[in-house]
């Protein structure tokens, strides 16, 4: 049983490591802020979840489980807000090219609110 738990924890840590590495490569290679935001969101949510589950699997006790759940909960509450704010600021301050977007619903809303 201990071996199984150890293997699961190792796999989860490696998943988080791959996420972190992918985010680093994406941050370096993607051309504008929105695409870097997309790459950077991976370790922020999935990597942190994987690490927290790995900690709980490796050291199963109630305080660790409670703290890990809180960490995952707050990470999943705050990161989408931060990503939304940064994405909106990137759009509104014209640091990215709107022509690279496939769907642009914010532009329709902005024209509608400017017209009224």
């Amino acid at each position: 049983m201990d071996v199984v738990r150890e293997v699961v924890a190792v796999v989860l840590v490696l998943v988080a490591g791959v996420m972190s590495l992918a985010a680093g490569v994406g941050l370096l290679r993607f051309p504008d802020a929105l695409q870097r935001l997309h790459a950077g969101a991976k370790p922020q949510v999935l990597g942190v979840i994987a690490i927290c589950v790995a900690i709980v699997v490796r050291h199963p006790s109630f305080p660790v489980l409670a703290l890990a759940s809180l960490i995952v909960l707050f990470q999943m509450l705050t990161q989408p807000i931060a990503a939304h704010m940064v994405g909106r600021a990137a759009y509104r301050s014209h640091v990215m090219d709107p022509r690279t977007l496939a769907v642009d619903e914010l532009a329709e809303d902005i024209t509608r609110s400017d017209a009224s």
Partner: protein
């Protein structure tokens, strides 16, 4: 478990280093904020790796604080950047 510290820690180090390079290079403040967030997440992952390998879970509150306050920097920078007079 030593090899896990080496492999996992190496991947976190490379990811964090790439984020640090993006913080230095920019080119806009939003890129820097996104990269700083990734750096925080990488720090959380690395502390978690230490806890998995050493069995010392006394740093869990640090992870909680980082998860709670990582939002403050990016939201405040994004808020000030999206003011119309600062566009450009």
């Amino acid at each position: 478990m030593t090899w896990l510290v080496a492999v996992g820690g190496g991947m976190f180090a490379l990811g964090g280093l790439a984020a640090l390079v993006r913080v230095v290079l920019g080119p806009t403040h939003l890129d820097r904020v996104v990269a700083a967030d990734v750096l925080t997440a990488t720090l959380v992952c690395w502390l978690g790796l230490r806890m998995v390998t050493t069995g010392d879970t006394s740093l869990m509150p640090v992870l909680l604080a980082l998860a709670l306050f990582a939002i403050v920097g990016s939201v405040s920078v994004a808020r000030f950047l999206s003011r119309p007079e600062d566009e450009g």
